[in-house]
């Protein structure tokens, strides 16, 4: 696919996966939880994490049947080129739509929070440039950049949570199951798409250590679930329900409320790297993955020409919503509600075809 075959270690892959899945906690996305789960919204990430783990296991089961092939190649082997084209466009839509909405949300957040006089187009151009460069350098660069930043991100996120502990109201948990178990369960189905980014595993599987794909998939999903849970729960504890539903960027508001005496005010500046790097890694992964899908569709070997194409498409998508609220709403509606179901349907279909046809195929010997 590229000039050099990248090598991604297990820890790097887990980092990629969990940042790719959980970076949405820095955007408006989790606010929708509170409308469905009320004060018990913390249950939603737990349920969706279970769903994510199940989908990860299904995906790994499919990938393990065709070692050396990625999801798009397996689809072509099993479903043929025409049907697989539809599948590939679905993967592409997932990646580009997710990236576009994240780009819009992040840029709007930057403009409203830090650069109030700067045009959003300039902010988007900066983000695009930075993320595109790293995507262009390849999967190794993206994975290692993520791995390099992960300790900063995790420590900063945990510090952010820890500094809000004095503001927690434990009574916000009650009534413990909020709208009731059934409504919580049904409400959670609206957010299963949180974990649709597990698709990344299917696109980079043949660069991962053999035999560890399952551990990577499950590990990445669980860590992402933990951060989703954390950043859903803490705003409830701090702001209580229903005020928490009025937050635009919950994690940003958490940082703003921290006050450490006369000198330690406006602490959100310390957490800016958390939001910026988290979302930039998300965008870089998205561009790379989208470029890989396009490379597979066009049956080419080098992903790099498509990085710019993916970037341009993302920028176009980012400007489609009229405002950031609409971007967040579309993201929840189209990605959060339906996407994981469609992905599961595709994986199940491919698994069924695989079982029906028996394992193996001409592409088994083909390696990247």
């Amino acid at each position: 696919m590229s000039r050099f075959r990248p090598v991604v270690g297990a820890s790097e892959a887990i980092t990629l996966l969990f940042i790719f899945i959980s970076s949405k906690v820095f955007l408006t996305y989790t606010v929708f939880y509170y409308h469905k789960g009320l004060n018990a919204s913390w249950v939603i990430p737990l349920i969706t994490t279970i769903a994510g783990v199940v989908v990860a296991l299904l995906l790994v089961a499919l990938l393990n049947r065709y070692p050396g092939l990625d999801l798009v190649e397996i689809g072509e082997e099993l479903a043929g080129p025409y049907l697989n084209l539809l599948f590939a466009f679905f993967y592409l839509a997932l990646l580009l739509l997710g990236a576009g909405m994240a780009l819009r949300g992040t840029s709007e957040g930057v403009v409203s929070g830090f650069l109030t006089d700067t045009p959003i187009s300039l902010v988007i151009a900066f983000f695009i440039t930075g993320t595109m460069v790293v995507s262009y350098l390849g999967l190794e660069a993206v994975a290692r950049t993520a791995r390099f930043f992960v300790s900063v991100l995790v420590v900063t996120a945990l510090v952010l949570v820890a500094l809000t502990i004095p503001l927690w109201h434990w009574d916000a948990f009650f009534p413990l199951l909020g709208p009731g178990p059934l409504k919580l369960l049904l409400g959670s189905l609206n957010f299963t798409g949180d974990f649709v980014q597990i698709i990344l595993l299917g696109l980079i599987c043949h660069f991962l250590p053999a035999g560890r794909i399952r551990a990577i998939g499950v590990g990445g999903t669980l860590i992402a679930g933990f951060f989703l849970f954390l950043f859903t729960t803490v705003p409830i504890l701090v702001y209580d329900y229903p005020p928490v539903t009025e937050l635009m960027l919950p994690s940003f508001e958490l940082a703003r409320i921290i006050n450490m005496g006369r000198f330690g005010q406006r602490m959100e500046v310390l957490f800016v790297p958390l939001w910026v790097f988290g979302n930039m890694i998300f965008l870089s992964i998205s561009y790379y993955a989208a470029a890989v899908v396009l490379t597979r569709i066009c049956k080419l070997r080098d992903y790099r020409p498509f990085v710019l194409a993916a970037t341009v498409l993302t920028a176009v998508i980012a400007f489609i919503p009229q405002n950031v609220i609409q971007a967040a709403y579309w993201s929840q509606l189209y990605l959060g509600r339906y996407s994981l179901g469609m992905l599961v349907a595709i994986i199940l279909l491919l698994l069924l075809i695989s079982i029906f046809r028996g394992k193996g195929g001409g592409l088994d010997e083909k390696s990247n």
Binding site: V7, G9, S11, E12, V110, F114, L115, T118, L122, V123, F126, F127, T129, G130, T131, V133, V134, L137, G138, E140, A141, V142, A143, R144, T145, R147, F148, F149, R262, F263, G264, Q265, R266, V269, V272, P273, V276, F277, M280, S284
Partner: protein, 614 residues
């Protein structure tokens, strides 16, 4: 025949767009005519073949070597000289053998050394004291040979003592007979008391050895020469390191001679596995490079790669590690050094023990260590010589300095211009008050001060030592007082620039410090355009580029990204007794550096954490 009539070989027609070459040809046509005869006489040794050798019919058009143009006027004017040079190059490159006749050899060597214009080569005719005497000639370069050594170990034995040692046509080998071999061998074994004597069969061997300060003995009737070790050039003695000074630790630095430098390392590492291989890099003035490694530790693939890169350099003159570095590093366009340059033998020895490869360049006191990682560039040898808590603390200070040197001015601009609300109110009031009278925007203010500081730093290096104090006064007055008094900059910026300078001085590697200085301006620009966001985007790209860099195949950010097995000596300085393994990313032949019980004097059950084990 017909095809020759129909087909005419295309000849080169100089373009009128080529910088007025045609005009110059016309102008110089008369002058060049007078020089056409130069070198036209062809002598018995093949020189002066009467014209240009490279008649490729292209004149002064674009050459095949990357579009570098040669001047047709010059070529025409000095055709004879060019032909002569080419003939000499052919003799050297084609490894032409020596002639049996002494006079022929002398004639060729005089041509090669451009005698009589060149006064340094000495062709000393001698008569070897055999019966009958044998004609011979010594060839050496005046000034780089040890004359006392020549007198006592070459001239005296050959001219006076050879008869006593029974060497000659009567007693030994007869010249011109089938026993020529014995005569040369007898001279080497019995007459010449030099410590290193070898034979040469080609002009190229003779010339290269003579250029290295040795003496060649060419005997009439023999198509071989004897080469004797007589190097005697002046060199600087081993002194203190000039750039990498330490408080604790050895105070020896490398000098300019490669042999002395390798010896300094050998003095530290008494190991038979310490190998020094010699490679010449460059064409016109080949640099003698020594590749040193521990054969039982260094990865053979790494050694092979280093030698391959050095041998495949195609350049005229590479006298300095900085030049060789640019030829052998993986990504020369990235402004980050991918080779560790040091002038300390102890640091080279430590690197070799880890499994690295050292590259010595003759004539330079800096030695390259490869592969090199980011963490190597931020470490100082002294980290290892002091106790580990202090070593770790110093490293933290150094990382802080690195951060300051790279990002502090950019943060100043970002906060002043874009995010004043980020700083506490009292501090904001102080800063605003200090900047009240400054008429410039913060970016101009910072650029003025940073550029002034870089100017002072550059001038400080170039200025003669006797007037160095003047520069300090000028710098202090301009930077410290006058700029503030004139309301050109704010006092806070003076603090920012000073702390930035201190940070850059704390970086232990000069090349790395230079790259940080360069990148600082990039970050200043980014901050001036997008504030903190610009800095963060810059950092993201910076890290993305760094993690994809490689130094001789080893990831530059290892062992942090990619994650490999970490020792206790990469980010912080761990205890020496816990550094049991060599760096994993070097893939050495021996991975273990010391046993788990490195402090085995501890009693059983005590000091497990101290390397004593149970």
């Amino acid at each position: 025949m017909l095809k020759y009539l129909l087909y005419r070989k295309p000849s080169f027609i100089p373009s009128v767009f080529e910088s007025g070459i045609e005009d110059r040809m016309d102008e110089n046509s008369n002058q060049s005519g007078g020089n056409k005869k130069e070198g036209s006489a062809k002598d018995s040794t093949g020189f002066g073949n009467g014209g240009r050798q490279d008649q490729d019919g292209r004149g002064g058009g674009k050459s095949k070597d990357g579009g570098v143009k040669s001047n047709p006027v010059t070529e025409k004017r000095f055709a004879g000289k060019i032909a002569e040079n080419k003939a000499i190059d052919d003799i050297m490159n084609n490894k032409v053998r020596l002639y049996p006749g002494l006079d022929n050899n002398k004639q060729v060597l005089e041509k090669i050394f451009r005698v009589p214009q060149n006064k340094d080569p000495v062709f000393r005719p001698i008569s070897i004291g055999t019966k009958p005497p044998t004609r011979a000639m010594l060839l050496y370069l005046d000034g780089i040979t040890n004359t006392q050594l020549q007198n006592s170990t070459i001239l005296q034995p050959l001219m006076l003592l050879s008869e006593l040692r029974n060497v000659g046509q009567d007693g030994g080998a007869a010249v011109g007979n089938q026993d020529d071999e014995d005569f040369i061998e007898r001279i080497k074994e019995a007459v010449l008391p030099s410590n290193q004597v070898s034979e040469a069969e080609t002009f190229e061997q003779v010339v290269n050895d003579v250029l290295n300060g040795n003496t060649a003995l060419i005997i009439d009737g023999f198509d071989r020469a004897i080469l004797m070790e007589t190097k005697g050039w002046q060199y600087r003695s081993v002194g203190k390191p000039q750039v990498e000074a330490v408080i604790r630790g050895p105070q020896e630095g490398f000098t300019e001679l490669v042999k002395i430098n390798t010896t300094l390392v050998r003095k530290i590492l008494h190991r038979p596995a310490l190998v020094a291989e010699y490679v010449n890099a460059g064409a016109v003035g080949p640099a003698q490079c020594a590749v040193m490694y521990l054969a039982d530790v260094a990865n053979p693939d790494l050694v092979k790669e280093v030698k391959k890169r050095l041998e495949l350099i195609r350049a005229d003159y590479l006298s300095e590690p900085g030049l060789v570095e640019q030829m052998i590093e993986d990504s020369p366009v990235v402004p980050v050094p991918q080779v560790l340059t040091t002038e300390r033998p102890d640091r080279v020895a430590a690197g070799l023990i880890e499994g690295k490869v050292a590259i010595f360049i003759n004539g330079n006191p800096f030695v390259m260590l490869v592969p090199c990682t980011f963490f190597n560039l931020t470490q100082s040898p002294e980290d290892a010589y002091i106790r580990w808590p202090a070593g770790s603390f110093i490293r933290i200070i150094r990382y802080l300095g690195l951060f300051m040197a790279l990002l502090l001015p950019a943060h100043y601009i970002a906060i002043v211009a874009y995010h004043p609300e980020f700083i506490p109110t009292d501090l904001l009031l102080a800063m605003t008050g200090a900047r009240e009278k400054v008429p410039f925007p913060s970016i101009v203010e910072v650029l003025v001060m940073e550029t002034s500081f870089e100017l002072i730093r550059e001038a400080g290096i170039r200025i003669p030592g006797t007037v160095g104090t003047t520069l300090g006064i000028v710098g202090a007055l301009i930077l410290g007082q006058a700029a503030v008094s004139a309301n050109i900059v704010s006092p806070i910026l003076i603090i920012v620039v000073a702390v930035t300078a201190l940070g850059s001085f704390a970086i232990p590697n000069y090349s790395f410090s230079l790259s940080i200085r360069l990148l600082r301006f990039v970050y200043i620009m980014l901050a001036s355009v997008m504030g903190l966001m610009g800095i963060l985007v810059g950092v993201y790209i910076h890290i993305g580029v760094l993690v994809s860099l490689k130094s001789f195949g080893v990831p530059f950010m290892a062992p942090a990204a990619p994650v490999t097995i970490k020792g206790t000596d990469y980010f912080m300085r761990g205890p020496v007794w816990s550094q049991e393994a060599r760096p994993d990313y070097l893939d050495p032949l021996k991975t273990r550096r010391q046993p788990p019980k490195s402090r085995s004097w501890l009693r059983r059950g005590r000091g497990k954490r101290g390397g004593g084990g149970k």
